[in-house]
């Protein structure tokens, strides 16, 4: 049968939407939660919430630790403690090429044995590399899903006949029509966000889909690309590194303060520490551009001389940084972050309404009462994703309050997340169609309402706060 382009696109849109919709919903929901990952991490580690951070002493203590424990390392990296992450996170490349990392108390410089909780980073990791599989496989699956999302968006735009005429139209209580209206409204009003977030997500992992270019340009070490796209090499390769003491970190901090004024610092890197070639780079915390263009200063660690800007400012490097910057949205202030979170949730609503529309349409088209396994499974998977996933996410937070994780214990929070998600699927399989949504929605609402109460009880009983007023 000959079909028009629009009909073909509608077919493509509905079937790729269905097959990848569940995965995309999970990616969108965990991605939306990622906008508040530092807050989630802090919520899950209340012992850090009241910690006072002085960056100057945090940097000093981290430097003292590295000088004592890794003086002959090839490079140092210090993620300086700040309001969001109140502990120094350091790692260094040892002389033999291996890496070691530690988390240090920002005030005392002592090693911290943190609990195994992943906090908001679990959602962050899940949204771009899933869980329980090799990173490369997880990332490839997510990147392919992003490609499908992009195709679904384009085919959806072509399919939508009256994109401007129906812009403000939302008819309630009209069955299939209402689902379609909601799907259209939620897609169209945040369309720039969906296109941007999908395209930038694809661009970040472009090398997974098109690896040939990188292999051709860097046949020996493809990962050299990542270094070159960020920094311009200033090292004099002919010169041999000779041991030489570096100046004190206070000297560089004073220089930085003279240049920038009082500024919070994100990280400090030192290449070839304790040699005459030592290069110390200080990067500011605040990011006021979409190109991740935080202010940066580089010094010779031995002489204290200011080295020119080592950032790669070529057009292609800036474009690359923009892709990261737009996707990560580190520049977003609280209000803009809230807006991004809302757009993310709209994305979930768009995918969910699309999935429900597919299901409802088939239900209405069905002419007999015979059992159809495909429709049964789609309905159950819809419930598992749309209700089960938020339940699992809440369960992850509950587990944090019920189980005290130690550094070396299994991560029961993650186990709870997946167990609840699986449990939701099993309940859905066993529940009749008419009770399917009601049962799980009740559970979701109950869990959502009870969490703040449990949280206050937990904080008071563990003496993190003394009364409701402190909260």
């Amino acid at each position: 049968m000959h079909k028009s382009v629009r009909q073909s696109m509608a077919w493509l849109h509905s079937w790729i939407g269905l097959t990848f919709g569940w995965l995309l919903f999970a990616i969108f929901l965990t991605g939306s939660a990622t906008y508040y990952r530092h807050e989630i991490s802090m919520w899950m580690q209340p012992q850090f919430a009241s910690m006072q951070i002085k960056q100057e002493s945090a940097i000093q203590s981290a430097f003292t630790y590295l000088q004592k424990n890794a003086p002959d390392a090839k490079s140092w990296y210090i993620g300086v403690a700040n309001q969001n992450t109140p502990a120094n996170k350091i790692y260094w490349q040892k002389a033999d090429g291996g890496y070691e990392s530690k988390t240090l108390d920002a005030n005392t410089g002592k090693e911290l044995s943190l609990s195994a909780t992943q906090g908001g980073d679990f959602f962050y990791g899940f949204h771009y590399q899933l869980y329980g599989m090799p990173y490369s496989i997880g990332r490839l699956i997510v990147t392919f899903a992003a490609l499908i999302m992009f195709i679904a968006l384009i085919s959806g735009i072509i399919t939508h006949k009256k994109i401007f005429t129906d812009f403000f139209t939302l008819r309630a209580f009209k069955g299939q029509r209402s689902y379609l209206d909601f799907h259209n409204v939620s897609s169209v009003i945040a369309l720039p966000f969906f296109l941007t977030i999908t395209f930038t997500g694809l661009s970040i992992f472009f090398y997974l889909l098109f690896p040939a270019g990188m292999k051709k340009a860097y046949p020996d070490n493809p990962y050299q690309y990542f270094d070159e796209i960020r920094h311009v090499s200033t090292a004099n390769k002919a010169q041999q590194a000779q041991p030489k003491n570096m100046l004190s970190i206070q000297h560089f901090l004073q220089q930085t303060q003279q240049q920038w004024g009082k500024t919070n610092i994100d990280n400090i890197t030192v290449d070839q520490p304790n040699t005459q070639l030592a290069k110390l780079t200080i990067t500011a915390l605040e990011d006021h551009s979409i190109t991740r263009n935080q202010a940066q200063l580089s010094f010779n660690g031995a002489t204290g001389a200011l080295i020119g800007n080592t950032r790669n400012n070529s057009a292609i490097a800036t474009l690359n940084a923009s892709m990261y910057g737009l996707h990560m949205a580190n520049f977003a202030q609280p209000l803009l972050r809230l807006g991004l979170f809302f757009s993310g949730l709209l994305g979930c609503a768009m995918i969910a309404s699309g999935l429900l529309l597919w299901s409802l349409k088939r239900q209405l088209q069905k002419k007999n009462d015979h059992f159809h396994f495909g429709h049964y499974l789609v309905n159950r998977l819809n419930t598992t994703m749309i209700i089960g996933l938020p339940v699992a996410m809440l369960g992850y937070l509950y587990a944090n309050r019920f189980v005290q994780l130690q550094a070396d214990t299994p991560n029961y929070e993650v186990y709870t997340f997946f167990t609840l998600w699986l449990f939701s699927f099993i309940i859905a399989l066993c529940t009749k169609q008419q009770y399917l949504w009601k049962t799980q929605l009740k559970l979701l609402i109950a869990m959502t309402l009870a969490l703040p109460i449990l949280n206050v009880y937990y904080l008071i009983s563990n003496q993190y706060i003394h009364s409701l007023q402190d909260y």
Binding site: I189, F193, H288, L335
Partner: protein, 144 residues
């Protein structure tokens, strides 16, 4: 309103003087609170909130105007008190888009040039969503 306009003028001047004097342009793109902290200018967080509120209002007015003259709504608009809008469709469209550009400019005062464009797209979504929920009848119809 006069006070607001004066403060807005100060802010615009500050914004453009930053543009021409700052070596690193991105450094001048601070949020208002940080501007105050770093440069010692008299921009208060209150003004920033006012700028954002004003930008939201402009987007809302522009969106509502475009809704009133949309092909589905224009016949109802012709019969309402706002029928004047239905008589000058092109003018309303031009003014609405001008208001959106003005909102973009206001965002750029707060966020800087590149982020303001992102902010316009992102912060318009909840306004549009709220407007759509407001203008459509979402109550269940009881059959007689």
């Amino acid at each position: 309103m006069i006070i607001f306009t004066c403060r807005l003028n100060d802010l615009v001047i500050c914004h453009f003087s930053d543009f021409f004097t700052s070596k690193n342009h991105t450094d001048s793109k601070q949020s208002c609170g940080e501007d105050q902290e770093k440069t010692g200018t008299k921009i208060s967080a209150g003004v920033c909130v006012m700028i954002l509120a004003f930008a939201f209002l402009l987007i809302l007015i522009a969106s509502y105007s475009l809704y009133l003259i949309s092909s589905k709504q224009i016949t109802k608009t012709q019969k309402s008190k706002l029928s004047v809008l239905a008589q000058h469709v092109k003018l309303v469209k031009v003014i609405s888009f001008a208001l959106i550009i003005l909102a973009l400019f206001l965002f750029s005062l707060n966020y800087g040039n590149s982020i303001s464009f992102v902010a316009l797209c992102i912060l318009s979504s909840p306004i549009l969503f709220g407007l759509i929920l407001f203008v459509n009848d979402l109550k269940p119809k009881i059959k007689k």
